[in-house]
Amino acid sequence: MRRWTTMVTGALVCALALGACSSSGEGGNGAGGPSGPGPTRKAAGTLVLGAEQEPDCADWIGSCAGSAWGLWTIQVHTIPRVFDYRKQAGVWTEVPSPLLAGAPEVSERDGKQVVTYRLNPAARWSDGTPITSADFRFTWRAVVDGEDIYDKTGYDLIESVDDSDPRTVVVTFRERYASWRGLFAAYGVLPRHLLEGKDRAEEMADGYEWSGGPWIARWRKGESVTLTPNPRWWGPPPKLAKVVFKFLASSAAEFKAFESRTVKAIYPQPQLEVVGKVTRRDPQARRFVTTETGNVEALWVNNDRFPFDDVRVRQAFAYAVDREAIVRRLFGRLGVTEPVHSFNPPIQSRYAAPAFERYRADPRRVEELMRAAGFRRDGDGPWRKDGRVAEVVLTTTTGNKRRELTLQILQEQLRRAGFRARIGNLPPADLFGEHLPNGDFQVALYAQVVTTLDPGLCVVFCAKNIPGPDNDHSGQNFTRTRVPEADPFLERVDVEADEQERIAASKRADELLAEAMVSLPLDPLPNIGLWDRRIEGPVADNPVLGMFWNVHEWRCRGGRC
């Protein structure tokens, strides 16, 4: 399961919420939960955490799937999943979640791939009903038969889910499927006894009261999500009595709220004020910065549009852009000085070849390539071919100040290299809903955000996924990339079960994509977490589940946040 989310944030655009550990309450002097020190093991304290953007709804497999903040504020705390994600020996890997009694087994039966999950007998929903194989079967059918499902990939390859033993789930695939680990993980498992025969989207859209995780979530639209411990949770119980996610109106508001201690933890977009903050000393705050993310922020180039329909012009473009200068300016203060050189994000780095390393700012190469492509230039003027000017419209989502600034740097760099560059930013809905699918753009700056450890770039670069009648216009190869040599390798990555083969195919594909300069990766969009020093617990980034996934293990010093 690949989530193709976009980090679309900004002042106008989105709501940021912050986390804080604060006394909630009437009169503002701390009536939240039993407080005070003591050996009591009871949950204590109210922690107010943040959401940068309020999810539109809570239908995690339908219209609101792929919402990062939906995952981080509600889904991850309430929907049971088969895997958690941990860093082991320096590599992010899937580990069985408390839902399972052990690692799932992959086998082959009658030439078909079979995955067997053994469920933890203690696993149950918040109403006491055990979580069983019937729930898995129900989830599979809900995805496959559902109307408005976000992404059916993988689920549509399942032939059957055997639920004859409530504690054992036997999933049989029609054909080999290498990325099976994403199944029942990103979507999780839904409660059959509560949703069967009902309109799932309707039931879940405005939030739901059941849970199969450590918390029960109550969503007050526009304002907050409140988590309270799920008494039937079979894992280690939450240490806090209450967690509140507050929704904020902008990244600027989020930052100010943290600075003023209104909220005490944030997981913000790396806007520049946040980057600046991280580099300043603040005895009150703790922080992490990770570049090992599932993100690749890139300049996505429309391969169909003049002048970039010519591979030489695309290459010239890549040599015209000083990626290093951009990355240093944006994230240099975080120690990030090197652009990313593959479209496989850092958390999948073992599948990545540093193929785009060859593209360093080089005016001479620009000159050569442009001339080879038949362009001419008078002095400092723009490149021209047959009377047409090499004009580039740079687009990003309105409201994201860091991206707007990035485009202004780019505009200068391109101007010097002889491209006439204009900035035409669009509201996220227009960019992702219309302009990208319709191919109505030239160069767009946005991030691909992946929340699985399984690689797979076919979805965005295989020719068969160019939006068109063959894929009901739902293909996601917005760049109209057509590199026939790369396609077999890209497809192989999706099905190859042999890890070494898979890595080799992925790296080969990287090289071919870079050779054709289908688009230009920029930076890993570092993940930043800031929290108050009073918060104790394993606070760390999780590139798949976000910073707040284990908030049930957090506590506040002395029970007061």
């Binding site: 639209k221 508001a253 100010k256 209104t262 909220v263 219309e434």
Partner: protein, 322 residues
């Protein structure tokens, strides 16, 4: 009196109809209601929606359908959240109404006090100072004022006083997931209300000062003074009463205009009212919400004007029809 109220209310109906039609028409031509459905894989979806909204018929007909549904309480479904628009609007409107009520009340109180004080001390140092402040208030971009207020009154002040939490909240109207009318709520109201009303306080106080100066110079006041009416009584009973009248009409118009300020204020202070709803809906081109939003807002403004109109009639019997 009742007929007066009824007549004014009735007169507002055609205004409401035309205004809401214009809003409806404007949003219809600028925001494509089928934008989201067009991404659906169901090729019939667009046709069905066009049919339901009568998009192939004249705008007047579409408007008619919309009004018919609206009167039944059905304002459509948000494309962004899938929630009924009426529910979203009700929630947002309630929040914004709080902001407007407190804002108007506070602004009126401050403005009248300042205006009267300045008028009584006309030409003095205090008058000049207050006048300068009013001019500054009028010249400030409201969002800049809000940002400075956060910087100084929330961030800096907290640091100087060594508080663990800011004295004045600026995230929502409650801390945590609190609710209700509490001290916490009041502390969260201060900065948004200030930001929302900085312009109108300045304007109203100037206005109040001018009309107070005028009234104080009127012959009947001079007569009363000559008769030896005590100064405090003179100011309050005779002068203020008459000087308040013009302000009420001004307030009527401005409460409507405040809606613009609400958008900025709610954005800065993360308050989930009409302003935020508008910005979020505009971001994704959520046509059903935008249509209903503009119409409801126009209705709200008309209602505010009507209320002020009636209040004016109440205060000044001459306005009432005989």
């Amino acid at each position: 009196m009742l007929t007066f109220v009824a007549r004014r209310a009735l007169a507002a109906v055609p205004v409401l109809l035309v205004a809401s039609f214009l809003s409806f028409w404007f949003v219809r031509v600028t925001v494509d209601p089928t934008a989201k459905v067009r991404q659906s894989r169901d090729p019939q979806a667009v046709a069905r929606l066009r049919e339901r909204l009568r998009l192939d018929e004249p705008v007047v007909v579409q408007y008619g359908v919309w009004v018919r549904d609206a009167l039944r309480g059905d304002l459509g479904t948000s494309e962004r959240t899938g929630e009924p628009v009426s529910r979203m609007l009700r929630r947002a409107l309630w929040t914004t109404t709080q902001l407007l009520l407190w804002g108007t009340a506070a602004a009126a109180l401050v403005a009248v006090a300042v205006g009267v004080y300045s008028a009584l001390r006309a030409g003095g140092v205090a008058d000049h100072l207050l006048t300068t402040l009013a001019f500054l208030g009028l010249a400030m971009p409201p969002f800049w004022f809000g940002l400075l207020a956060i910087q100084i009154l929330a961030v800096d002040l907290t640091r100087w006083l060594g508080l663990s939490e800011p004295l004045f909240g600026f995230v929502g109207l409650h801390s945590g997931d609190g609710s209700g009318f509490t001290l916490d709520y009041l502390r969260h109201l201060v900065l948004p209300v200030m930001t929302l009303t900085v312009g109108i306080v300045a304007e109203w106080s100037r206005f109040q000062r001018a009309s107070m100066v005028e009234v104080l110079a009127a012959p009947y006041i001079r007569t009363a003074r000559a008769k030896g009416v005590p100064r405090s009584r003179l100011v309050v009973r005779h002068a203020l009463r008459n000087a308040l009248l013009p302000l009420v009409t001004v307030m009527a118009l401005d409460v409507g205009l405040l809606f613009g300020g609400v958008i900025v204020t709610e954005q800065i202070f993360s308050i989930p009212g009409m302003g935020r709803l508008f910005v979020e809906s505009l971001r994704v081109g959520d046509a059903p919400v935008l249509v209903a939003w503009t119409v409801v807002t126009a209705a709200f403004v008309i209602a505010a004007n009507l209320v002020a109109d009636l209040a004016y009639g109440f205060l000044d019997p001459r306005v009432r029809p005989r």
